[in-house]
Point group: C2
Chain length 203, copies 2
DNA sequence: GCATAGTTCGAACGATCGTTCGAATATGGA
DNA sequence: TCCATATTCGAACGATCGTTCGAACTATGC
């Protein structure tokens, strides 16, 4: 069953590109058929319907993001690295991943509420784990910050990072690494360094 | 013709709420009829069609945002206020406006590409003026920063501020003023203070 | 009370949507 | 070569969409 899985994967990637360009709701199954070279009916051999297609795209992408972030942090050593370094690594991973997978991550961010029922709940469960991961990092970085402000800061950081699907051009002047460095510098400089003026750069 | 304008305004506000809750494309004209108490055909007396409805909502909201920002800056004095204070005032106005008009500003942000043709171009023209305004503020705040990084920082700030439609709850623990203060603190502390460690707070 | 303009709406139209179904074709071991 | 399974697809279905049209209702000046 290898060729089947490969064709499904290719189908998901192509569909993600179309969803990213036109939006989920204004993309028709006929658009997807034209973009993938398959026939209208042929797509239903790989996917139960349009909403399951979106679900598979989002779940596949979000699982990779979460696993990648955990692997990045694990590579830093078992918990006794500098909290600021760990936060910086998280930001760098998120931004570079989103910049390298603009179509999929745009579908993830922009169509976050286009799923319904059980499928919506499943994707939200992954999101919860990912948000919790960042909040635990912020707790280590700024333990004296009020919880309300720390939670809002987490969403502010996600805003900076996720918003790039609205403007970032991979062919433009700023490369993903530099963008990640800028966002990390802004957030860490503004949030983490507010109280403890320890050196940040050069992990 | 006063009652006509009032009913149109009320119609736009109601429709904006529905667009914000369900999304533009999955909202049907029948949904809007039910939410406004009008009949399906009756709405076409006030609006040429569904897309013009979205256009009027976005243009009305964006015009207010731009005018409000300009008025806020003008109130600070004719150009010889501290650049950091001017940036802080811009951020505070943006965040409090967005928090106070969550439905309209969500439609503005999330449905930014749901318009087509001339209508899309018109709204983008206002957006351009608004982005240029922030970039001019950043130029005064950090004149030594490379232009590429300054432009990316502008979008990062917009990301922080616009993303709130995805998570902010006005009935929650953090009020708009405090949220604006947090975002201003993070961005100014991380971006503007990177080189010139001048005092920021207390304007 | 009547004419005019302003406003509302029931009913229907054509278009397009997601999905289905059975037949047609390709694939691979015996 | 033949059969069973895997895969593809043309054609159509019912549902729902945005929009239209002409009639009906309302308000106002005379």
């Amino acid at each position: 069953m290898r060729p089947y899985d490969e064709r499904l994967d290719h189908f998901l990637s192509r569909a993600a590109k179309v969803f990213a360009d036109q939006g989920y709701h204004s993309t028709t199954m006929r658009d997807l058929a034209a973009a993938t070279g398959m026939s209208l009916a042929g797509m239903y051999y790989y996917v139960r319907g349009k909403e399951e297609l979106l679900h598979r795209i989002q779940e596949r992408c979000f699982t990779r993001v979460l696993a990648g972030a955990e692997a990045t942090l694990a590579a830093l050593g078992s918990g006794h690295a500098d909290p600021v370094d760990r936060l910086q690594a998280f930001i760098r991973h998120h931004v570079t991943f989103f910049a390298a997978n603009l179509a999929e991550t745009k579908v993830l961010s922009h169509e976050a509420n286009s799923l319904t029922g059980e499928r919506h709940r499943k994707v939200n469960a992954i999101k919860r784990r990912y948000v919790d991961l960042l909040e635990s990092l912020l707790r280590d970085v700024a333990p004296d910050e009020p919880a309300v402000e720390r939670s809002a800061a987490a969403y502010a950081l996600f805003g900076m990072m996720n918003w790039i699907y609205n403007w970032y051009d991979p062919a433009g002047e700023i490369d993903p690494e530099r963008l990640a460095g800028l966002i990390a510098r802004v957030f860490i400089g503004g949030f983490a360094d507010a109280r403890s003026p320890s050196p940040v750069h050069g992990g």
